[in-house]
Symmetry: C2
Subunit: 387 residues, 2 copies
Amino acid sequence: MLNFEFYNPAKIIFGKRTEESVGERSANFGKNILLHYGGGSIKKNGIYDKVIKSLKEQNLNIFELGDVKPNPRLSLVRKGIQMCKNNNIDFILAVGGGSVIDSAKAIAIGAKYDGDVWDFFVKGTIAKEAIPLGVVLTIPAAGSESSTSTVITNDEDNNYKRGMQSLEYIPKFAMLNPEFCYTLPKYQIACGCCDILAHLVERYFTEVENVELSDRLIEGAVKTIINNGTIAYNDNTNYDAWAEIMWTGTIAHNNLLNMGRIGDWASHQIAHELSGIYDLTHGAALSIVIPAWMKYVYKHNIDKFYQFATRVFHIIDEDKEKAVLKMIDKLEIWYKQLELPTRLADANIEPVRFEEMAERAFLHKEVIGNFKKLYKEDLVKIYNLCV
Amino acid sequence: MLNFEFYNPAKIIFGKRTEESVGERSANFGKNILLHYGGGSIKKNGIYDKVIKSLKEQNLNIFELGDVKPNPRLSLVRKGIQMCKNNNIDFILAVGGGSVIDSAKAIAIGAKYDGDVWDFFVKGTIAKEAIPLGVVLTIPAAGSESSTSTVITNDEDNNYKRGMQSLEYIPKFAMLNPEFCYTLPKYQIACGCCDILAHLVERYFTEVENVELSDRLIEGAVKTIINNGTIAYNDNTNYDAWAEIMWTGTIAHNNLLNMGRIGDWASHQIAHELSGIYDLTHGAALSIVIPAWMKYVYKHNIDKFYQFATRVFHIIDEDKEKAVLKMIDKLEIWYKQLELPTRLADANIEPVRFEEMAERAFLHKEVIGNFKKLYKEDLVKIYNLCV
C-alpha cells in the first residue's frame, strides 16, 4: 500500500424526501443562490418545482442558469461566473447529473478568481477559494457529487476537453433521492451504470501490491452495480435497486477506493476520443473500450485479472487465461443486457479513424495508463479490438 | 436501505514517516498545544521523541498530559480541561490508541463548555464547540481516530462507563503509520483485531433489508481483518499486514459501513459488563461474547447468517444451520489462533455472576440489541453460552 491522504468533507444526505430540506441547508450559506441545471428534464419530472418551493420557503434570492449540456461548455461557465460576480452569489445549487455539477464546480472557482477560469484547466493554476456548492443529484453516474474533479469542454477553442482536481469545490452537501432516478430514459440508466462500473474497474487494475482491503471493497461495489444495474434497467421504479446504484456511484468516485493505490484510467482516455469524434455518450464508449482494453492488457498481470474473475464473477478454471476470457465474455453479456454497444459496429461507427484518435489522445501526453503503460501503437491496436 | 446522512471530515494521513508533518499540521490551529498520551509506551518506542521534535520545529508551546489509562477516566479529563482553560490551548494532539483519543475528545468539548463535562455523557447535553483535535494513532482497534464517539469511565462515581456522540470532536487529522504497530504486545494485537472485527460484525447483522453495497463492503473488510490479523500476530513487523489492519480499523468505525442500516451492538454491551466486573480487556471479552451471541440469535434470521457464512467463510451446505454453526466454529478457531479466550474458563472466570451482569446491563435500558431485541433473561442465557 502506498502512502496516502484521504479527505472528503461532502455531507451525503440520502433517501426519500431529503430534498425538502434543500432550502434550509442552502440558506446556511447566504441569501443569493445560483440555481444551476440542465436541459429542462427537471421541469418535466417535478424536481425543479420541489427545489424552488424549498428555496422560496427560506426567502432566498434565486438566480437561475439552466441549459447545461452533456460535456459542459466553457461558454456557459463564463456566463455563470459573470452572474455570480454581478449578483453577489453566496451559494451555488447544482440540480442534475455530472455535467451540471462539473459546470457548477468550474463556476464556483471561477467566480473567486481574477484571471481566466480556463487557467485552472490548462495552466495548472491552483484554486484557492470557491463559492460553496450544493447538489441535488438526479443522475447517478459521474460521481461528481462528492469528487474532487471537474471536466469542461472548451467550445471556444477546438472543443478541447480538460479536467482539473481541487478540494475547494467539493460540495458542502449532496442530496441523493433514489426516486429521482425513476424517470431516467433506459439508455441513460445503462450508460450511468456502465460509467460507475468503469470508475471501479479503473481503480481496481493497479500495479501497486498489498491493497487487499481496497481490492475487496471494489469487488463488492462491482458486484453491487452489476446486480442492481440489471434490476433497475428492467424495473425503473425499483427503489432498492436505485438506492444501491446511487450509493455505489458516490462511493465509486469519492476517492476512498483509490487510497494507497494508483488507478489505470487508460480506458477513460481511449473512450474520450471515441466520444469526441463520434459524439458517442461516455457510458456507451466505455462499454466498447473496456472489454477491448482488458483483452489487450490482461497478460500484463494475469493474476490480478484472475483474482477479479474468480472473486467478482466466481469463475474457477485451472487455466487462468481461460477464466479471464470468460470473465470478459460475462462482462460483455452484462453490457448487452443493458443494450449497450460492445463493438464499434453496434454504435454504427466505421473502423477508419484509429490513427487520428490515437494521435489526439497523445496530444499533450507521452504515455497513457498506469496498470500497463500504453503508447500510440497500443491505442491503435486497442481500437482494432473494438471492431 | 434507510434514509441516512454521512459526513466525516477527518483527514486521514496514512503511511510511513507521515508523522514528520505533525508539527506543521498542528501549527495551523495555533501556538498552544496540549499533548495527550497514555502510560509511556510512546516514550520507549521513540514515537514521543518524533512527535516532540516535529512540534518543536514549529516553535509550539507544548503542554503535556500523559497517563491516560485503558477505560479513560473522568478525573483525568477534568484535569485536561483545566489545563486547556489555564493555558489557552488552541489544539489538542492525542498520541495513542482509542483510550487516549476518547479522553482527548472529552477534554476538547469540556474545555469549551461552562458546565460539567459529565453532562454530555448523562444529561444528553449537545456539544456545540470543541478545541480542534489531531491524532497520531499507535494502536489500531477502537476506530476513534475518525469516529463520532467517545466512551469515558466515571472514576468519581461507581465507575459508570458512558458514551456520547458528536461531530464536533471528529479529529481534524489522524496520522496512521503502520510501522508504529511493530512494538505492540501480542495480546494487544489480538485484542485490537478482535475489536475491529466486532465493529464490522455489529454493523453487519441488521434487520434492515436491501443493503447490498454495505453488506458486501463489510464482508470485504471482515475477510481483510481475518487474513491480516493472523499475519501480523505471527509476524509483527509485517508492514503490509499492519497497513491493512490500520486502514480496516478506521473504515470499520467511521460510520461509512453503517449507512442506511442499523447495527446491533448487543455484543458490545454484553462484553462491557464482563470487562467491568472482571477487568477483562475489551477485545478478549468480545472473543467470548460474539460466538455466544451468534449461537443464541442466528435462528432469528438464518438467511443473513448463512449469507455471512458463504460469502465470508466460503462455507456451502444445503443445511443452512449446519453452515452457520461451521462459520461460528471457524470464527472461534481464528480467535484461538490469536490466543484469545472463547470461553469464560479460558479467561479464568467462574460462571457465577450472570444475573448480576445482566442486571447491570439493563440499568438504564429496557432492551439491548437491534438485530434481535434482547431482555434480561436472554442475556443470562447468552452468558451461559459463554461457559
